[in-house]
């Protein structure tokens, strides 16, 4: 007991404050490490980028506007992506916007939840961890049948934690 009850300040090696400091250091280290690993496990940004790449590449290769504009055009089958994880699980989102160069949008395909587009627009201005992570890609596609250039804009997001 004598160890903890020292009367002179220069002898206080083991005081209650010392233990409090250790506790604070310990809790900070534990929290810091757990936060570091949880950030490492967050791959939403990579997934969003992969989905954007997949959709852009798939639409641009052999671009045929007439084919894409058909009502029975199925983006999921064409790009080999699984519809259920978009509709049922609501983990991913994508928005494809096709416009004739310099003109307004002529075709839009949206899949996933309702608020994602707004949250993505916000994300592009200010990064927010609680929102789904988004990626965007604008590319130019050339339709060899009509000899026209189109701008293909793809936004994709992931919210899988």
């Amino acid at each position: 007991m004598g160890l903890f009850i020292n009367k002179k300040a220069d002898e206080k090696y083991l005081s209650i404050w010392m233990f409090l400091i250790w506790a604070i250091i310990g809790v900070s280290i534990v929290l810091g490490v757990l936060m570091f690993y949880s950030v490492q496990a967050d791959v939403r940004q990579i997934e969003a980028q992969l989905l954007t790449d997949r959709l852009s590449a798939c639409i641009i290769s052999g671009f045929n506007y007439e084919e894409i504009a058909k009502s029975n055009f199925d983006i999921y089958t064409t790009c080999s992506i699984y519809k259920n994880v978009f509709d049922k699980e609501n983990l991913y989102y994508f928005n494809i916007d096709i416009s004739e160069e310099g003109n307004e949008s002529i075709l839009k395909t949206i899949s996933g939840g309702n608020n994602w587009k707004t949250e993505c627009d916000y994300q592009f201005i200010k990064k927010e961890d609680k929102f789904p992570q988004c990626a965007k890609q604008d590319s130019t596609a050339f339709d060899s049948k009509t000899n026209k250039k189109y701008t293909v804009s793809v936004i994709a997001a992931s919210n899988q934690k």
């Binding site: 160890l3 020292n6 002898e11 090696y13 083991l14 250091i25 496990a41 992969l50 089958t77 992506i81």
Partner: protein, 132 residues
């Protein structure tokens, strides 16, 4: 009297140093081991495999070394499936011990049997091709 006081001081200093060493050792061990727990490894590999599936272009074959998973499963005496593919729900499930394990979704369409395990090489083989 003076000698007892100085003895107390020395004991205090020694105790202080020992406790410091113990405390910081515990912290070092914690920091070093927390990333190597089964939970984190399961999480890491389920994500890694899902991302590899989504990144693979149609027609590619990818091999992932999963020998680390085997050694963890062996240490836990776990003899079940380490990596399970749920082709119906598009999920990769990694388990290193009895329990739920860690699952992660992928968005690519895969034919059943696209992912297999080469037990000799302790590798996971992903074969992707465009589905029609």
């Amino acid at each position: 009297m003076k000698s007892k006081k100085s003895q107390n001081l020395i004991t205090g200093v020694i105790m202080f140093l020992i406790l410091n060493v113990v405390f910081f050792s515990i912290m070092f061990i914690f920091v070093g081991s927390v990333g190597k727990t089964e939970g984190f490894i399961e999480k890491e590999y389920s994500r890694k495999i899902s991302l590899m599936i989504d990144k693979s272009l149609p027609g590619t074959e990818v091999s992932i070394d999963i020998s680390e998973l085997y050694s963890y499963a062996r240490n836990n005496n776990y003899a079940g499936n380490i990596v399970t593919m749920d082709y119906v729900n598009n999920k990769v499930i990694v388990k290193l011990k009895d329990g739920e394990g860690s699952s992660f979704y992928y968005f690519s369409k895969l034919n059943s049997g696209a992912v297999s395990i080469d037990e000799k090489k302790m590798a996971l083989i992903i074969k992707t091709w465009a589905c029609s």
